[in-house]
Amino acid sequence: MARLVAILRALARAFQRGEKSFGSLAGNNFFLVAVLFLGKAGTFLFLIMGLVVLFPLSTDPLRKIPASRLALWPLERREYWLLRAVSPWVNPMTWVIAALALWAAHGSVTVGLWALAAGLFAAGFAISELPLPSGSALWRRVPHFPGPLDQLMRKNLREMLSTLDFYCALLLSLSMSAYRIAGLALPAEAFMAMTVLVVVALSSYAQCLFGLDGAGGLSRYRLLPVRGWQILAAKDAAFLLIVVVLVAPLAPLAGIGAALVALAMGRRSSVEDPRPQTRWRFSAGTSPIYGVVEVMVMASAASAIFFTSALVLAPCVAAWLGSLWWYGRRLEQGMLS
């Protein structure tokens, strides 16, 4: 037991120091939208399912301990599973979600639903136990791009394809495409709304474009004889390519407008406060408040493009270009510090 307490204590200390998991969920734009919409609809079951699956996939305090180190410690099997069960409660977010679930349930949930939620929670952590693929190996063959930054753009594409944000956006896009293919009658506005949701699902990544580059990658950027805006443009190219593919069957121009806004608004945190990210997790943005503002501006831009004129795309492009120029310079200055 003393061993377990010592490990949990160290885990709690490490978790407090490098606390990112609250941000991982609270800073994820799609999570914010999911909570707002589902909470309002009072759909407790969906809310709890969403939370219990999202949460373990995005945060797991036990991953703070390197797997090789954990395997070397003289822990008995019973102790390991106890650690597995207790460690999530080191994360304050677990307590918040538990409180939220209790509040939302409000005595209206049957024992069966609680069992289902508990099962999903356990399944989430079981998934978390699986070894994570590096991400890159899955995406050996990605398209080539013209120009000298081809390999950088391919790398950026592989990075994006190893986040859960992409798969969330892909599911949304595929589900709406299925409606379109099946010829089911849906108002045009529905496609616009889903386009916004697709870009929202990807938008947290726009706030942490360098999150998967690691220390070595950031160091290489500093050594490459290229301008700051070129490095950012290579990041944006990968982001925009994915957005264009996913929103093509929905409302493409509105989606591109929203994506340009997401890139422009996410630039400051990407460049000046680069947050390390974890593969096969949801991206962690800066803060819930910033996320809400970003989602509102993105939705406004997409709506304006969709309902008024494609010319609204022009200010979106201007904002994106401005951010590229300004933060390209900031990136070069930051590289020197």
Binding site: S134, G135, Q151, E159, D213, R220, R222, P225, M335
Partner: protein, 247 residues
Amino acid sequence: MISCRNLTRRYGDFTAVDNLNLEVSAGGICAFLGPNGAGKSTTVKMLTGLLPPSSGTVQVCGLDAAANPLALKRLIGVLPEDLGLFDDLTVEEHLLLTGAVYGLDRRETHRRTSQLLHALSLEHGRHTFASSCSHGMRKKTSFAMALLPNPRVLLLDEPFEAVDPVTSRIMRDLLQSVARRGVTVFLTSHILSVAEEISTQVVMIRKGKIVWNSPPDELPRSLEAHYFELVESPVVEELEWLGSSPS
């Protein structure tokens, strides 16, 4: 080719590099030696233009490193402390990226890439992603990236650590060969025997200050003995609990 004048770098109250004066001529191989935390990597960062000095000047290839970082980057090859590799690129893709951003045409980039992969025994792992490479492979990839643009100055932070003996031999031969053709090499290392073998200039640093600077043949005794005397001597402490019965 490399010139430092009163070079100083402070982090708050801590002075990492203190009033460093150093000249390395074209075609020279300068071994920059010192214990961990002595200021070696900080000096390399200032030479590459990645870190502005607190005071003093650095000139590499006649360029002020702090004022012309972009122009300087085009002339130097660097093996950084953390190797500077992207997890999502393969060994070969790293070299192709380097050729492209340094302005080499596609054919020349492929030619040099093939030669470097062969010379450094990286051919079998050319399609391996950096995240899956061993530390030695990663180091060789970063070393190859430093050589590929045919730089005028090579700045290498601990190039021989974690590489196998054969590759270490190949790397030493390559460095001596490029130095004979006028390329200046500035390297840090903890492997004193290698430093003694290939260097034309030995510089020792302790607590940010240079304590020795001469050609290796002017050392009064072996490099190791001199290093232990000037920089730090090994102190073996008796840990009486090691090897006793576990309590």
